[in-house]
């Protein structure tokens, strides 16, 4: 949300608006209102889709911070999602879960953060294609661990995750606000979107803070940053672990939304999909990550429909979606490396500058 409504950010004159933290909190509250309205206004099936959008958004948000702000690439974020999801599955199954939902989410985030720190230490010494290759290997290696330790991790069949029970106070609040009962799938969607809002506020503040400036400095010019006294390694590791923690949280929400954690959920495709979301939206922009996640969630239906109209079989039209993703990714890199949000923002800025010049 660092980059959310630019027009809003520019017109803000009040001191409240000028304070980054307050601005982000205000946006978060507005976001919350929109979330409640949308979730209450749509069917259970749409809720389930929106839950998917939420976890993709969280993971993409973390990845965009890593790639866009710090210049590190990771094709292995699916692996961190797997770590978060397996943590969730282990802590949240059967009739007597070990922890409440919030505890599970935090635990998943924490475990992914620790693993992310370990991987980050190694990753900080690599760059470009080497880092890409190493994280690619990570993405395909992690599901194998779940298969190997099938006694604990459930093997191919995976671990079932219980549907979280809607707590009474939550149902009461929502009933008071909306006069609707909360189904489990709706509750999961709320969990996802609340997690997303919290994550995005934290990430937005982080990227506006000194840490964020250091990350950008490292990305833009390593040598200059080093001369300025920045510890390159530490900055890189920090960015990596923040990003991995987001992926872990996303994995936790995914486990609850899919109700299952199995190796088949964490294929190479997932990691590449996250990268797609980040590239589509524009590297480094949280709003872009959200738009990317929305495209990933809702574009398939549109594209599949078009495919069916063109006379393709169901199976063929289902494959049109990745085709569109891939092509867009290639085109974005060739024509508009700043992504959707970056390009729009660039266009907006140049327009604003023109408008201001006469004055």
């Amino acid at each position: 949300m660092a980059s959310l409504p630019l027009p809003l950010a520019k017109v803000g004159r009040s001191t409240l608006w000028q304070s980054t933290l307050w601005r982000h909190l205000l946006l978060a509250v507005a976001g919350l209102v929109v979330v409640v309205l949308v979730l209450e206004g749509t069917s259970d099936f749409r809720n389930a889709q929106l839950a998917a959008m939420a976890y993709l958004g969280i993971a993409a948000g973390g990845l965009t911070v890593l790639t866009g702000l710090n210049g590190q690439i990771s094709l292995g974020h699916g692996a961190f999602m797997a770590i978060g999801a397996y943590t969730t599955a282990l802590l949240y199954q059967g009739t007597e879960p070990v922890l409440p939902v919030l505890g599970v989410l935090l635990a998943a985030t924490l475990v992914a953060l620790v693993v992310g720190a370990a991987v980050g230490v190694a990753a900080a010494r690599l760059h470009g294609p080497y880092l890409a290759g190493a994280t690619l290997a990570l993405a395909i290696a992690v599901p194998g661990i779940a298969l190997f330790f099938d006694g604990v991790l459930g093997g191919e069949q995976g671990l079932n995750v219980r549907l979280p029970e809607v707590p009474g106070w939550f149902a009461d609040i929502l009933f008071f606000l909306t006069a609707h009962d909360v189904s489990s799938s709706k509750y999961v969607a709320y969990i996802g979107w609340l997690s997303l809002i919290v994550t995005f506020v934290l990430l937005a503040n982080l990227s506006r803070s000194r840490v964020g400036r250091i990350w950008r400095a490292v990305r833009d010019d390593e040598v200059a940053a080093e001369i300025a006294g920045i510890n390159l390694g530490r900055a890189r590791v920090l960015a990596f672990l923040v990003s991995a923690a987001c992926a872990g949280l996303a994995g936790a929400v995914m486990a609850m939304a899919v109700r299952l954690t199995a190796p088949s959920g964490f294929t190479l495709t997932l990691s590449l999909t996250l990268l797609t979301a980040v590239v589509l939206g524009g590297l480094g922009s949280l709003l872009g990550a959200l738009i990317g996640a929305a495209l990933l969630t809702f574009l398939p239906q549109v594209v599949t429909g078009v495919g069916a109209d063109l006379g393709l079989s169901d199976l063929q039209s289902a494959e049109l979606t990745p085709l569109v993703y891939g092509l867009t990714m290639v085109l974005v890199i060739l024509l508009a490396p700043a992504g959707i949000v970056g390009s729009v923002r660039g266009w907006w800025r140049s327009r604003a500058e023109k408008a201001h010049k006469p004055a």
């Binding site: 209102v33 309205l37 389930a48 191919e156 799938s185 199995a262 088949s264 199976l315």
Partner: protein, 444 residues
């Protein structure tokens, strides 16, 4: 400042609108939600059911033909007036044998397509991912296309789920006893899919063969390199391999054995033993140098419905007629027969559920299934209020030139230490009604 106020006004108005919308909803929604749940997916003239199948991926060869068989039979019934005037609409979604996808397509089937029931959802790891969800949504989950125990052995936890084919533990027991009696000196190796399919059948086999087993190897579905597993069986000197795997892995295991010059006696469980399919996969690998189904000659397997090779069987004649009239491309195969037999059972259940079936009444109807009802299964169903297990038994056969030769009569048993007996119900000798559509009276 001006634009800022404008934005604020906008936000406020959105919130207000939302509150008003919400307020309008108050009072009316709370009661209305549960009332019509049991009529989901059913109208005066139609009933919508659905299932997930692997139409792509490693499990697709063979299994992707099952829904085509089911659909052909439903079309046949629809062409003859449907069930109580309702046409059966069958929605199939591809999950690629990937449990995570199964979860997503089942969301779509239950919440978006609003199916009345899931019928024949395929696969052990895949269906395990959605069975809790279907039960919590109270969607009847009939005749799962897998023999895992969990569909039928815990009625309290899964009141809406029913098995169909013999469970893998019973199959393991019947195979185990046959081997113990007829090949007491064999050094037995197990080749298992690494999920409930492998685990349940191993449990059954071990009841009789615990001492004879010299090696156990497991493969993960999706990993097509099984050389290490086969080499492991070979290294332990297994001379009889009992395999519980999907059809592609029958072909792969044969192929790897050729490469390793490993020639044990093979005993494939029913789900992986279709000679036509395996033969076609194998003959292409070797560009015709391994011909047709011959590599499976002499292989032992089991059978609980008559296959396409029994051309004189009255049920197979019916399936042939249905396929000729309503089938799509290709020939009648054992997988299509499987699908039609299952579709037949669903039509029986739907008739038993009464004039105006509800989700509850169809569950009741299947629980009160009359075991003497004529059907294609060789042994009767075990459905009751205590057990949702499917067909109770099977016979052991040997494949010769693509045709199965019975080695035993139909043997029936149950899970646990239930004895294995010869079936005396005559279920294997009945024939379909002349018009090919069951006529079951509504239950109770």
């Amino acid at each position: 400042m001006k634009r800022w106020t404008r934005t604020l006004t906008m936000v406020t108005s959105v919130v207000t609108t939302g509150a008003v919308v919400a307020a309008c909803g108050a009072g009316s929604s709370r009661e209305a939600s549960g009332a019509s749940a049991s009529e989901v997916g059913i109208t005066k003239s139609s009933i919508k059911i659905g299932a997930h199948f692997p139409l792509t991926g490693v499990a697709a060869p063979g299994y992707s033909e099952i829904p085509t068989g089911m659909k052909a039979y439903f079309d046949y019934v629809n062409a003859n007036g449907g069930v109580n005037g309702r046409k059966i609409e069958f929605v199939v979604r591809d999950d690629g044998y990937n449990p995570t996808n199964t979860s997503q397509v089942t969301n779509e089937l239950a919440l978006k397509e609003q199916i009345f029931a899931m019928v024949g959802g395929l696969g052990t790891p895949t269906h395990a991912a959605v069975v809790d969800f279907l039960n919590s949504e109270k969607v009847p989950d009939l005749f799962v296309s897998s023999g895992a125990l969990q569909w039928g052995d815990d009625v309290e936890a899964k009141p809406y789920t029913f098995g169909w084919q013999p469970d893998y533990e019973s199959e393991g027991k019947i195979i185990g006893q046959y081997v113990a009696e007829n090949m007491p000196d064999a050094k037995v190796g197990l080749f298992l899919q690494d999920d409930d399919l492998g685990r349940d059948s191993e449990k059954g086999v071990r009841q009789f063969l615990d001492k004879q087993i010299v090696a156990v190897q497991r493969y993960t579905s999706g990993n097509t390199d099984v050389a290490p597993q086969i080499a492991g069986l070979q290294a332990k000197g297994a001379d009889l391999v009992l395999s519980f795997n999907t059809p592609s892995y029958t072909a792969l295991s044969q192929l790897v054995s050729m490469k390793l010059n490993y020639k044990p006696k093979w005993f494939y469980a029913n789900i992986g033993s279709d000679p036509t399919l395996v033969g076609s996969l194998l003959s292409k690998f070797s560009e015709g140098k391994v011909d047709g189904a011959s590599p499976l000659d002499g292989v032992l397997t089991t059978e609980y419905i008559s296959g396409v090779d029994s051309t004189d069987d009255p049920w197979v004649k019916l399936w042939q007629k249905v396929w000729d009239e309503n089938g799509g491309k290709g020939d009648l195969t054992n997988y299509r027969v499987y699908g039609m037999a299952k579709a037949y059972a669903f039509v029986q259940a739907l008739q038993a559920a009464g004039e105006n079936p509800t989700r509850e009444s169809i569950v009741k109807a299947v629980e009160n299934w009359d075991p003497s009802t004529a059907g294609p299964e060789l042994a009767p169903f075990r459905f009751s209020e205590e057990s949702h297990m499917g067909i109770s038994g099977m016979r052991i056969v040997q494949l010769e030139g693509g045709v199965s030769k019975p080695l035993t009569p139909v043997l029936v048993t149950d899970t646990g230490d239930a004895p294995i007996k010869e079936d005396t119900s005559g279920q294997g000798d009945d024939a379909p009604p002349a018009n090919g559509i069951p006529d079951v009276k509504p239950a109770g």
